[in-house]
């Protein structure tokens, strides 16, 4: 498809830098050398993922393509690109910011929704993001209850976090807007593909998608940086 460069946003990148308070900057220094992609673990398993292209689009203002892409959500956050970058661009921070931007446009909520329980149930209730409850039955079968192992090692059956600490992080959550943010995530209704019938599928293609559900508009994301090759595995 022919892309119209005058549809890109000339001002976006210039304006967002001060908003991010210097937390992310320097993308304009990019040489397009490709050192980041060459060592990228995500690029090694996702053929279309490419940090170099995302930076390129951001600097040139084609944020529509960045925000609506599946690729934006494939980053491993390993910081290998930052470690090797000849001009010191901290790419993972850009991904972090761009994901927030994508969420404001209604992309990627299905990923974030899966993670919400870690914040709401574990972090805010127990003060610990990883809960002692094991969700994988195979692991329990193999290893048994973690509380027993803690006890055998001479520690209390459960790591204690004081009530005061939990009250404090809950207050931080309320004050900083985290609670509201999470409510928004909880309010998203997602399309359940497992319940899909051929009939719905037909509709899915012909009818206007994405649709508005709850408070947040949810969209499907696109493989904007090239449809992945390599057969069904890469869908």
């Amino acid at each position: 498809m022919l892309e119209k460069a005058n549809d890109w946003s000339d001002t976006f990148y210039d304006k967002w830098k001060p908003i991010a308070m210097g937390f992310v900057n320097g993308a304009e220094k990019c040489l397009q050398c490709g050192k980041c992609t060459g060592q990228c673990p995500a690029a090694a398993v996702n053929p279309s993922y490419n940090p170099r292209k995302i930076i390129y689009d951001l600097v040139n203002g084609n944020i529509k393509r960045v925000l609506s892409s599946v690729e934006l959500w494939q980053c491993f956050f390993c910081s290998g690109c930052f470690a090797t970058c000849p001009v010191d661009i901290n790419f993972p921070f850009f991904v972090f910011m761009l994901r927030l931007g994508a969420m404001s446009q209604g992309f990627g909520w299905e990923d974030v929704k899966q993670l919400e329980k870690y914040a709401e149930k574990d972090y805010l209730q127990d003060g610990i993001t990883v809960s002692p409850e094991e969700r994988n039955p195979y692991v329990i079968e193999e290893r048994g209850d973690i509380a027993d192992i803690r006890q055998k090692a001479g520690m209390p059956r459960q790591r204690e976090v004081s009530d005061e600490a939990i009250a404090e992080i809950n207050m931080i959550s309320d004050l900083s807007g985290m609670t509201n943010f999470m409510k928004k995530i909880g309010g998203v209704e997602l399309y359940d593909c497992s319940k899909c019938t051929p009939k719905i599928e037909e509709k899915c293609k012909s009818k206007e998608l994405p649709k508005k559900v709850g408070n947040v508009k949810t969209h499907y994301r696109f493989y904007n940086y090239g449809v992945p090759i390599g057969g069904a595995d890469n869908a």
Binding site: F12, W16, I19, I63, K64, S69, A167, L175, N180, F222
Partner: protein, 96 residues
């Protein structure tokens, strides 16, 4: 490959997933960022903080004491916030 990524769908390319031009979308995202990262204390934000402070205070005497100690610091901020709310509209003046 998953149905939703097949040719038919991808053809309805990312351009159509957005309502506005790149410039408009950029502005939208920037406004969102501004709200998300703002450090100012407008009245609306103060009001949002109230339930959190009540919840915190309800937990016990010690928590209330922490809050009471903080009250003198809070009054000038409240005043500022109300002043801002009265002079709504000009963001630059508020030092965003």
């Amino acid at each position: 490959m998953d149905e939703k990524y097949k040719d038919g769908y991808v053809e309805k390319n990312y351009m159509e997933a957005f309502d506005g031009s790149g410039e408009e979308i950029g502005e939208e995202v920037l406004n969102y960022f501004e709200e998300l990262f703002s450090l100012e204390m407008p009245l609306g934000r103060m009001m949002k903080m109230m339930p959190g402070m009540f919840k915190y205070a309800k937990r016990g005497k010690k928590y209330r004491k922490n809050l009471m100690n903080f009250a003198p610091e809070m009054m000038p901020m409240m005043k500022d916030a109300i002043k801002d709310a009265v002079g709504l509209g000009n963001k630059e003046e508020r030092g965003v």
